[in-house]
């Protein structure tokens, strides 16, 4: 059985949370819920507004390609340590794609307000988050 300490280890390996102190990650895990999804079950629905993101702690899921420009695009597979809907942690944006569980998935549901509060309490975390976002921006522009 997986417990909070294992979750903290997984969070540490995720870029978005890697910069946070262990104590903060423990609080993040403590304030999050763990959800189980059966194979085929929907984890996130495109267009839905949520105030949480999932971090997969067990199993794999597919991010379905956008049906509009689905010209041969293959579904993107995500697994342990990947974040689903991380934009929801940072701003109020609808989910960009459907996400479905491939096998038995367990994921940590992280609430935006908890994450935001923890990040804002620690300048280093904030700086790290901005850096990660910046890198992604450069990446997507180039």
């Amino acid at each position: 059985m997986m417990c909070m300490n294992d979750e903290v280890q997984i969070l540490r390996s995720t870029p978005l949370f890697a910069g946070m102190q262990v104590q903060k990650l423990r609080m993040l895990a403590f304030t999050s819920e763990r959800k189980r999804f059966a194979p085929g079950e929907t984890i996130a629905t495109k267009g839905e507004m949520t105030d949480f993101a999932y971090v997969i702690v067990c199993g794999t899921a597919t991010i379905e390609p956008d049906s509009k420009d689905a010209t041969g695009a293959t579904p993107h597979i995500v697994g342990v340590g990947d974040v689903i809907g991380e934009m929801a942690l940072l701003c109020q944006r609808p989910c960009r794609a459907d996400v479905r569980a491939l096998d038995d998935v367990e994921a940590l549901r992280i609430q935006r307000d908890c994450y935001m509060r923890l990040v804002s309490e620690c300048p280093k975390c904030t700086a790290d988050t901005i850096r990660i976002l910046g890198e992604r921006l450069t990446h997507s522009v180039s």
Binding site: M1, E7, R34, K35, R36, G47, M49, C114, R117
Partner: protein
């Protein structure tokens, strides 16, 4: 408002004041008579003046008016010495009673007068708040102003009764006593008068200085407190600059100043006291010395001297009270001025505009137009610049900003949330500002992004916008009718309007007509459906703990539904999403405590403590290893929790997410952990053992995932459960509501009762899926479904609607606008938190609903971007506060694309 409190009191209560003054004057007659009697009793029957021989009689009760040389009304009765004594004494007793009754009447009357004025002031102040122009609210603090209405005006009411009566009464009493002394002996009278004059002139003046000093004391003490917190806050700066001694000097200087003020206060206080006492005692000295001399020389008889001294006893009391009265007067005048300052405002709304409209169906002039409308915000920015626009009925207009915030500002001025700096809003050819709010408020419905809800139920708040004027009066019978009549009369006497909260304020007919439904329930639900809130109503109902009355109506039907819900869940393959209460197994959706007790605690708070402390529980726990294991579990829980929360301030929002401990318990558990270091179950004190076992009661492995509850332990808990119920004492069993098939659990929510179990929140979308299935099952039972939804409508929103989520609040805000029947609807981005798809659906549904009305209303909506423009007929684009383009939506889209 009147600048002077005394004038305010006089204007509003002059008739009563005159009446009470008359009564006071009248009361002086028996008061004076009661002074004179003791002298007559002592001189007459007791000392025997005029009763020289046996059988001599004196006339008793001769009443002669001292006008026209004396008109005799009653010749009196001749009486002998002893009957005379009895008659005079009885008269004295009678006068005492009459005087007491007068006092009683005067005091009650004054009290009532004061309460009425207090009521008048309070109502007047709140009335003013309701009539303040919107801009006034930027400069007032709600807390300050509400405490003014509540506390600060209170002494004003207390003073009202005394404002004129007290000086008249006390002055009258003092004057009567003085006059009496003068009549007895001019010299003694003059002496007393002189001393009293000194007292009245000097003492209040000296006291005034005390008030000044008191204020100074308050101020310096406040500054000292500020300085101390300054030192604490800046301690690092102080140390790094080595200025501790400078700070010491500063504190010494302040303390010295405070000391000086306080010492001054003491000196003055006791000096005033001394002087007052001295002056009060000086007069008796004069009476003894001068009066005694006069008696010995024979120019004053002993009875007169006794009467003078008796009369003088009545003097210091009224004098002291008069001085106190003057002090109170100054005090309340200052308070009144402060209140007045806060409640004075330019541009108060004319009360006539607020009067309930006698013609609720009066039409609003069409079209709605704004002319050369300008608005400058607090920062001095020109938000609207000479905007002129026209809005017709049945027109769907989108307001869109290319740059700036003109569209929102225009919507706000149309909704009268802000008043324009210049320019007018016209309905037909009438300025909106001159139209009564009853008409404008009903004919133009505005809804903005900020939703405020008043404490009350969901339905109350939804219908809030319909409570414009009483529709039909509440009917009263018997005692209630008498009470209501009294209330109406009293309201009138205090200048309050005679509104009755119990009247029917909602025009139900117009709602039914507006929605096309047959009953209020249908109307309410149809509106909630428009804003996609009807599912939430079911949700709220399902999470409610029913009260006694609600249980009576639905409990049995809910219990009867359990089988069907269970079958449906299993049939759809969702059986695993609910953990049912089963006697022989551990329920992973429930806490350790709920599993051990196989039930829930009935009375919250102390019940758990009672159970855990009981001998019975402790015996069970120590009979096998469970006690020890729960103790260790508690220790781990405490360890992890304390570790996480140790350094958090008690008001940290993270505590809201923690159900294991209260913030204030953290230090206790820290100490407890320390105490238990290196000790096991056997070595721990009983109290500590109990504390740890109690903590483990709240634990649920699914929620907290501390990894301390394995299958073996669960099985042991289930085994102990059986043992626990074997021989449970009655005192404990009545604290626990055991899960029983076929019975409604009052400690559980409606949902848990329908499921007879708990939703497994660990399963991805279990909440939603189970809810949907339960909803479907309920829908098959129309009447029950209706009852359940009604329970949802009765959901209490809490202060400010805080028990709803932000999105739900926004939807409800729109719903309470849609339920009103208006000519124009102004939507100022009320659904900002709602996702795009839902927003679009809500918009389409509500537009269709409004356009299908017999007289289609005008819809004016502020939109955030281009994507929704196809829903509108016309688009107005703003740039820097000016209208950039105004045209129908197709050409607008065309132009915009070509740009």
């Amino acid at each position: 408002m009147e600048p002077l409190l005394s004038r305010y009191i006089w204007t509003n209560t002059k008739r009563q004041q005159v009446w009470i003054l008359l009564v006071v004057a009248l009361s002086m007659v028996p008061y004076y008579l009661a002074f004179d009697l003791p002298k007559q009793i002592v001189n007459g029957p007791i000392q025997g003046d005029g009763f020289d021989g046996t059988g001599t009689t004196q006339v008793f009760g001769d009443i002669t008016l001292p006008i026209f040389g004396g008109i005799q009304i009653f010749p009196g009765i001749p009486l002998e010495r002893v009957p005379m004594l009895v008659a005079l004494s009885m008269t004295f007793l009678g006068l005492v009673i009459v005087n007491g009754l007068f006092k009683f009447y005067i005091n009650t009357y004054k009290g009532r007068l004061g309460e009425r004025l207090l009521r008048r002031i309070r109502f007047g102040l709140v009335d003013r708040i309701l009539r303040f122009p919107p801009s006034r609210f930027k400069s007032i603090k709600p807390g300050e102003i509400s405490s003014m209405v509540k506390d600060e005006v209170e002494p004003l009411g207390g003073f009202t009764g005394d404002a004129f009566v007290q000086p008249a009464l006390l002055g009258g009493q003092a004057l009567t006593a003085l006059l009496f002394i003068v009549v007895q002996n001019v010299w003694l009278g003059t002496l007393t008068f002189a001393v009293v004059a000194i007292q009245l002139a000097v003492i209040p003046r000296m006291r005034r200085r005390l008030i000044v000093l008191g204020r100074e004391r308050q101020l310096t003490a406040r500054q000292l407190a500020g300085r101390v917190s300054d030192i604490v806050g800046g301690i690092d700066t102080i140390h790094s600059h080595d200025t501790t001694n400078f700070e010491r000097a500063d504190i010494v200087a302040r303390l010295s100043r405070i000391f000086r003020i306080r010492y001054d206060i003491y000196r003055w206080k006791f000096l005033v006291k001394f002087l007052n006492n001295f002056l009060a005692q000086l007069t008796p000295f004069l009476f003894y010395a001068v009066g005694g001399y006069l008696t010995i020389t024979g120019s004053l008889d002993l009875g007169q001297l006794v009467a003078v001294i008796g009369a003088y006893k009545e003097l210091p009391g009224p004098l002291k009270e008069l001085i106190d009265w003057d002090l109170t007067r100054q005090d309340v005048q200052v308070k009144y001025e402060q209140v007045r300052e806060q409640f004075e405002s330019l541009g108060l709304i004319d009360p006539l505009l607020h009067a309930p409209d006698p013609r609720p169906d009066a039409p609003l002039g069409k079209p709605l137009s704004v002319r050369r409308l300008s608005l400058v915000d607090d920062g001095g920015a020109q938000v609207l610049d000479q905007v002129t626009l026209k809005f017709e009925m049945a027109e769907k207009v989108a307001l869109l900003d290319a740059n700036g915030s003109a569209s929102g500002a225009l919507a706000e001025t149309l909704g009268r949330i802000v008043w324009p700096t210049s320019g007018t809003i016209m309905a037909g050819d009438v300025d909106l500002q001159h139209l009564p709010e009853a008409l404008v408020g009903r004919r133009i419905s505005y809804v903005g992004p900020e939703a405020y809800f008043f404490a009350g139920t969901l339905q109350d708040n939804l219908l809030y916008g319909m409570k414009n004027a009483p529709q039909s009066p509440a009917l009263y019978t018997g005692q209630e009718a008498i009470d209501r009549a009294w209330e109406t009369v009293e309201a009138g006497l205090s200048g309050n309007p005679a509104f009755d909260l119990n009247d029917l304020w909602i025009n139900e007919e117009s709602i039914l007509e507006h929605t096309g439904e047959h009953d209020m329930f249908g109307a309410v639900m149809s509106i909630l459906r428009l804003v996609h809130l009807s599912d939430d109503v079911l949700d709220l109902a399902l999470h409610t703990h029913l009260d006694d009355r609600q249980r009576e109506t639905v409990a049995d039907s809910i219990v009867a539904l359990r089988e069907e819900v269970r079958a449906e869940l299993t049939g759809r393959g969702k059986g695993g999403m609910v953990a049912h209460f089963e006697e022989g197994s551990y329920n992973s959706g429930a806490t350790v405590g709920e599993n051990l007790l196989f039930g829930q605690l009935l009375a919250s708070g102390d019940a758990l403590r009672q159970i855990v402390r009981s001998d019975y529980f402790r015996a069970i726990m120590s009979s096998d290893t469970l006690g020890e294991r729960m103790f260790e579990m508690g220790r781990t829980i405490a360890g992890i929790t304390v570790d996480l929360f140790r350094d958090m301030p008690a008001d940290d929002p993270f505590f809201d997410r923690m159900t294991l401990m209260q913030p204030e318990e953290i230090p206790d558990y820290t100490a407890l952990l320390k105490r238990l270091e290196g000790r096991d179950f056997g070595g721990a004190a009983t109290a500590d053992r109990i504390a740890m076992m109690r903590l483990s009661f709240f634990y649920n492995e699914r929620w907290f995932r501390f990894g301390i509850l394995d299958d073996d332990l669960m099985a042991q808990i289930v085994r102990t459960r059986e043992k626990f119920f074997d021989d449970l004492p009655e005192g404990l069993s009545e604290l626990i509501e055991v899960y029983t098939e076929g019975r409604y659990l009052q400690s559980a929510t409606l949902m848990e009762n329908m499921l007879f179990g708990k939703v497994d929140h660990g399963r991805g979308n279990a909440d939603l899926m189970v809810r949907a299935i339960v909803g479907e099952v309920l829908a098959r039972h129309g009447d029950l479904c209706r009852e359940v939804l009604m329970i949802g409508l009765q959901y209490d929103l809490g202060p400010g609607g805080r028990r709803l989520q932000a999105v739900q609040r926004q939807k409800l805000n729109v719903a309470r606008t849609l339920i009103r029947s208006s000519d124009f609807y102004v939507f100022n981005q009320p659904l900002k938190g709602v996702d795009e798809r839902t927003l679009h659906l809500i918009h389409q549904d509500s537009t269709r609903f409004l356009s299908n009305r017999e007289q289609a209303p005008g819809i004016i909506a502020v939109v955030a971007d281009d994507t929704v423009l196809t829903d509108f007929d016309r688009v107005v684009r703003f740039e820097n506060g000016r209208v950039l383009r105004d045209g129908n939506s197709e050409t607008d889209a065309h132009i915009n694309d070509s740009l």
